[in-house]
């Protein structure tokens, strides 16, 4: 009976946490679409959406409503099951990777601790890699199932791009994991406690600048975002993998991209920019109640993530799209060797320091 009640409270706690995270990431993804249009407008000396509500803030709602109201078209010669599976998979995988992210420090109360992480698995980084590489199946299946040669080409590109850049991404992370000695997201973030430790910056960015550079370039590629948006390349492939999609299935694809962007921003800030850690957090921990301390941590993490989202948009509206051969050359001939060198140097330095 005791075990049952214990697990029930745990289940309730996790369900609440999951709902908050899902709602939060959906909300942030929604407003990312608005922010993207505003950022684009600002960079092109325009105004951007400003009609729906103050500053156009209701624009995402209007867009969503429009997508819901559109006619649902499934091409006659498509594989119907896979056609529906594609966007669902894209959305599912986009939402799943947020499960291992530590959103803030544990809330320690007299009744026990509440963890702000859905699952602290000891292979968190691996889990993220698995989910991210599954995410490309959503694009591939949807593209193949629409029975359209442009979509097929796009699916092909998305798959080869994902495979090429996952390698460099993984190798650049191995260096990080070697330093931290753990694959758990929680431990990686806790390893970057505060801002200054043992006479050096504690954030991984300052220990692995090259690794960070490789990782962020690869996340651009994994997200299928400009300058690596080969998969949806409007000027060559019409709309790429979502050419044949309409209504909310198209909406799912577009939305999954923004959720992915949010999640990868959070991962970037967790792995390299200290996650919920900030300068002077020990002082804050002593002076504020634990719940507030955790919430400040969440706020700091979200702030960093929003910074990264803005950076992603900034890059998108600055750089032209890479050509396909340039993309492959960059991935295989530059990033992978660089990541390998980075790994070797990190290993050598660790050995030298431990001697």
């Amino acid at each position: 009976m005791f075990l049952l009640s214990l697990s029930l409270s745990l289940v309730i706690e996790k369900v609440i946490l999951i709902s908050v995270i899902l709602g939060g990431s959906l909300g942030i993804a929604m407003y990312s679409t608005w922010a993207e249009r505003k950022v684009a407008a600002v960079m092109q000396d325009r105004r951007g959406p400003n009609r729906a509500g103050p500053f156009g803030l209701f624009q995402p709602l209007a867009d969503g409503l429009k997508l819901f109201m559109k006619e649902e078209i499934i091409p006659t010669l498509s594989s119907k099951f896979l056609f529906v599976l594609g966007p669902s998979l894209a959305m599912l995988m986009a939402l799943m990777s947020s499960a291992v992210i530590p959103w803030g420090p544990d809330i320690v109360t007299s009744n026990g601790t509440i963890s702000l992480q859905v699952a602290d698995i000891n292979i968190g980084v691996l889990f993220i890699f698995g989910v991210v590489s599954l995410g490309v199946y959503g694009i591939m299946l949807g593209a193949w199932a629409s029975n359209n040669k442009f979509s097929l080409l796009s699916g092909l590109r998305a798959a080869s791009q994902a495979i090429s850049y996952e390698l460099a991404m993984g190798i650049s992370l191995i260096a990080l994991v070697m330093m931290t000695g753990s694959l758990s997201m929680r431990e990686i973030v806790d390893g970057q406690h505060g801002f200054w430790q043992d006479g050096y910056f504690s954030w991984n960015f300052f220990k692995q600048p090259l690794g960070f550079l490789i990782f962020i370039v690869c996340s651009f590629a994994e997200l299928n975002r400009a300058p690596f948006d080969m998969a949806e390349c409007e000027s060559e492939l019409i709309g790429g993998y979502h050419t044949e999609f309409s209504s909310m299935k198209l909406g799912f694809y577009l939305f999954a991209e923004y959720i992915n962007m949010f999640v990868s921003s959070v991962i970037l800030s967790s792995l390299f920019f200290g996650g919920y850690n900030y300068p002077g957090m020990d002082w804050v921990a002593l002076h504020v109640p634990p719940i507030l301390f955790s919430l400040i941590g969440v706020g700091v993490l979200l702030g960093k993530a929003i910074g990264f989202i803005l950076f992603f948009m900034f890059i998108r509206w600055t750089l032209p799209r890479f050509r396909y051969d340039q993309l492959m050359n960059l991935g295989w001939k530059s990033l992978i060797p660089l990541a390998l060198v980075n790994m070797l140097i990190t290993g050598a330095v660790i050995l030298w320091l431990n001697k």
């Binding site: 960079m43 000396d45 600055t318 530059s334």
Partner: protein
């Protein structure tokens, strides 16, 4: 040697990238600086329905049919505007003024129907120049959009400037 007709034509540089170029990062930073600069630039767009750009003083827009000081129609349906119109956008039918209509029409003859097809009109202003009675003028507005071709054929009611309020009262008291 390549032969070019235009002096502005530029040969595309197809040399392989140098090492610095293949790093991409200097070029990316340069690009980011440019876009960053645009954040602080003045916006080229105005909030259209609330803010409107002024037309030039010589702008030729939608036509009006004028009235004289006493509120009588000036047009005598002479047809000079239709004759001068290079786009053949103007048609009219004349009618004779009847006794008792002196406060409505200035001369003995007036336009019973007057139509301008705004889809044909090229807003050249020749009708305005041709009119001997100062009856037709081009204003500073333009034809609003319409769902129908018919909606662009402006009848006399659409063109005639409204009756001045004081003259309406004068006529009513008479």
């Amino acid at each position: 040697m390549s032969h070019t007709i235009s002096t502005r034509a530029k040969q595309v540089d197809r040399r392989p990238m140098t090492f610095m170029e293949s790093l991409y990062i200097p070029a990316i930073l340069k690009g980011l600086r440019i876009t960053l600069g645009h954040i602080f630039k003045k916006k080229a767009t105005i909030n259209y329905p609330e803010v409107q750009r002024p037309f030039s003083s010589t702008f030729r827009g939608l036509h009006i049919l004028n009235r004289d000081e006493e509120g009588r129609e000036r047009c005598t349906a002479c047809g000079l505007c239709a004759l001068s119109c290079p786009a053949e956008a103007i048609t009219m039918e004349s009618a004779e003024r009847k006794p008792g209509e002196e406060m409505l029409y200035r001369e003995e003859k007036y336009a019973a129907n007057y139509e301008i097809n705004m889809l044909r009109c090229i807003f050249c202003g020749l009708c305005e120049e041709a009119c001997p009675k100062d009856a037709i003028y081009l204003t500073q507005t333009f034809a609003p959009s319409n769902f129908d071709r018919k909606g662009f054929i402006y009848k006399k009611d659409d063109l005639l400037i409204p009756f001045p309020a004081e003259t309406t009262q004068k006529i009513e008291t008479k």
